[in-house]
Assembly symmetry: D2
Homo-oligomer: 330 residues x 4
């Protein structure tokens, strides 16, 4: 379902070329100062406009429709909408019957019996992450003083990220990347062994973000090649600080007070410029496809702020920051 979280709960909605996209946030405590302009900095980080991102320019102005009164959250659900404005659906009519390789066109057609809104990827569009970023800003406020920071560490298999993107643009191709996310200042004890480990909840929401195909915590896949004697993080003191952080800040699914560290694999953007082979859903025959529309060359460029957002959302939920208890008790 389109809902995530037990205490701090978000629901996502909208389509790329419909009226709007948005997010409904339930469980935000009352009394948190919040205005639309608080959301802009992170929304700008997600935006297109840079080299390697799509030419579609959306203003991404958030409209808070409920849950805020006199500049503060009320404890009621917060609906934030973003109108879709810079829409050019023409290109999509042409490709309606010829699913783009790597996209969700084929699976969506089958799942929804052909009734899905195929324009711009519909509900599968990366544009849906706008709502995640907005909810993430609120979650970041609530989990203070925890600090989260994500950055792109690799593109196209290289740490010369600009070079990799430039080269992909020149080749009319696309390129993937790896984003690393770190959170500092976490209390010891968040998460549960079964089934709500920190890794479980983080990966659950992370894999909702279009284009993510892998996640690893701490030493991750490389750690499988280490001997246990080197992998084990020596505990240095009563606060639980460790000499190394191969565990990525999590033991037994539970935060150990060290830095939380994970990396995600972002696949190359599916929207490449050349001819691609596919099939025609109506005739059942092979077809050649040249994708029009406006696309990102490297969606990984836009992913760091989204990873920060989903991490903040999970932590708010795990920290039990919700509108359950009487405010006077909190």
């Amino acid at each position: 379902m389109n809902t995530f979280g037990r205490i701090f709960r978000i629901s996502i909605l909208g389509e790329s070329h419909g009226e709007c996209v948005g997010v409904l946030i339930d469980g935000c405590p009352a009394g948190q100062p919040l205005s639309e302009k608080d959301l802009l900095a992170d929304l700008n980080r997600r935006k297109s406009g840079r080299k390697g991102t799509t030419a579609r320019m959306e203003e991404d102005i958030p409209l808070i429709q409920s849950g805020v009164f006199n500049g503060r959250t009320t404890g009621a659900p917060i609906l934030i909408l973003f109108e879709n404005k810079d829409i050019d659906s023409g290109a999509y009519e042409r490709i309606k019957d010829t699913p783009r390789p790597g996209h969700a066109d084929f699976t969506a057609f089958h799942k929804y019996g052909g009734y899905n809104d195929y324009r711009g990827g519909g509900t599968f569009s990366g544009r849906l992450t706008t709502g995640l970023v907005a909810a993430g800003v609120i979650a970041k406020m609530l989990i203070r003083p925890v600090e989260i920071e994500a950055r792109l560490t690799e593109a196209g298999g290289s740490d010369d990220i600009e070079g990799a993107v430039r080269s992909a643009i020149e080749n009319k191709d696309s390129v993937g990347g790896i984003v690393e996310c770190r959170a500092k200042g976490l209390p010891i004890g968040l998460g549960e062994p079964f089934f709500d480990s920190v890794e479980s909840l983080l990966s659950h929401i992370v894999f909702s973000v279009p284009g993510i195909k892998g996640i690893e915590f701490g030493a991750g896949f490389a750690g499988t090649g280490m001997p246990g004697s080197a992998y084990n993080d020596i505990i240095l003191n009563i606060k639980g600080e460790t000499k190394t952080n191969n565990a990525g800040g999590i033991n037994g699914g539970i935060t150990n007070g060290n830095e939380l560290v994970f990396r995600v694999a972002v696949k190359p953007a599916s929207g490449v410029q050349g001819k691609q082979q596919t099939i025609n859903l109506k005739t059942g025959k092979s077809a050649e496809l040249v994708i029009g529309g406006r696309h990102d060359t490297c969606i990984a460029l836009r992913v760091p702020v989204i990873m920060e957002a989903v991490t903040a959302i999970v932590l708010a939920d795990l920290m039990g920051i919700g509108q359950m208890m009487p405010a006077v008790v909190r």
Copy 2:
């Protein structure tokens, strides 16, 4: 919480050195033939006894306590228990106050205020996966003709798995590994874009399994280094068969009818034999620790059948196989 699934739902319980471990399965349709001996083959695959696994020998005889009548499921919750018999808790008293590096001892102590059952790792023990395997057998029956197969493809960074394990035993050290899981015969259309993508649900349950620190689907992390033109899986025919399978059988979070493929990183077993530095929880001072007890050298050896089980559990849930609708309608 200790529950997973929306339609086919499992809850896990028990401690390594308590009375028992077990699983409660809710939502299994009525009328499925089921006996305790159906569970044995997969339970045996999870068992210790091989080179590289612990010397603790549990018979793992499943006791079906409810939900089965006259050899068939009744539609009521199925409780399956495994008694703990080969228990040697002595070693754990010694290490009660000195948390083992790499284990959940430190985090559990903090999370549960020192009241956790620390013997044998308590509720964090790999022994809890016995219930997952039992539930997995039932899920495999329900999702037929889908077939799932997992195997260990690497240990200690090498594909000479036996050699890596032997060498770790000789060094009184431990070793991690990579397990690959594949599922064939899936219908097109399982999963939902937000937030219940196939990757989201699989990774959620996978990261509940002790020792898992990474997961990737299809080309995964390596795919981030490929150009989009090579990464995109060409669609060959109207059934959606693709030339390559870099997507691992999932587009937009939804199965595309090709083989589902994922790999998990299993960390080196934490229980190494040498001296390790840690702290004493009572005195707050540094301490040296030599772990006794009986431990696995390579827990990854036991993980394949667990990966098959959790995959089957997720697929049963996504296929909506539950005891919701009247049996006459099903």
Copy 3:
């Protein structure tokens, strides 16, 4: 939380005097014809304007913001909003610090630490049921040929409903009532013994509707005075038709194929016209209060269509009508 349902799931949002009220519907299958005008008939039945309802006149024009494309549902979440237009918040400023007896003013103040939107009852307003009615129209479409009908059977303890309302208006007082709801054509077997009995789910959502203080199924409270030999419904034939229907169509929490029958108690509207004693939240001293604003004399007049809506929502969920399975399978 502000969400109800497992398969067909609704979330409610908005405030009486904020931007809007609305509903987010998740799990509606793709392909269902739906337009805004389909919603109008039931929305009109909920509206004010009749004798005994508030003078606030809202047009209640539904705006479908997502989840519908080319006149059909897409399988994505459906957001329906209603703008608030006929707002007169002036009266509420006066009573901000003096909670109205019978209203949620006092509890909301404490729960939300004074940050709640108090204007018009905020999120506690009966206006929030607009979204329920809209979702109910969609649910009614999905559960066809099941038919649901609710009506007001008593007001002020009398079956002369018009008389009771007229008399309350004359006395500048208010009056409660009893609404009976019936559903025909249900399959045998909906519901589960623990904890999702039909009575459990219906009462859960029914008690979300402002002003409901009791519910009974079949013979209900009166049935407690009958001998079992008279209460038991004799089974007449293999279809399960019974001679009497004291069970209200439910045995063991599960539909038995007979008519589903329940009645709800709607309390007298809290907004009476005379002086009432209360306290001042700022000074802590006793205060006298004369309520302004525009209020219903008998909210029970507007409840029947809401009861139909929530019944349809529960039945859609229990019938497993959701966007889980591939459309090609459904």
Copy 4:
């Protein structure tokens, strides 16, 4: 599903004539002193043996299988089982094909396609409430100093309860009743307007208890005949104490600090002694049925302690008493 609660969560299991019945409790905080004998007093109140209850005598000895270590809860799931011992299934073989009027025999047969465990009502048996009572004892400990007390106020429509039961025994008939439950010492602010009002959650779990057919809060159905001016509870002081308690301690779905009061309607026991008309599920023809087995004359006699238990369970959940946060923070 067989699970209830978001923070303090219980799952019920077992059958009347199977191996056992029981409850799995998830979310109980670590460190709560708990032993099997703590459960006995309330279990004894639920037991049969008194005039008007069944001749089946179960010892109801609780076996704590997990989640308790050294006399305290560990934060892990608590499994409590009760073995079934005094079983006489013979009578049920005779009636297997002739569903008893008023019981769940007919609906269970259809829902589970004939695979349900029909002996003694299987999973529909009142015996399943043993687990509720055990969970309720733990919940009562956790919500201290809140105090809950329930009592039978009417049987067979009369307040001479003993007389009504005696007369029903003489007539080989059965009799229903009304149970009133009160909770004192609640904080202001528990519950949420949509959809987790206190009334919603209480009624949800209450209607899982076999035999309950109605619930009302405060003045309930009688309140619908009162004028609003009399129904509204005058607020006396800053603590929110009211002159009357027609609201039953709940405004807008949220506790107001006054006593929580509700009443439930318990139907007459279905197991009457005379001949009853039904059908034969195999032949499809009418049949006459004389019920054997051992039955209660007045199940309402056993309901008060169950109402206390479910109230405590809901309050623990609403008070957010769970094993989410690190124990050091709690």
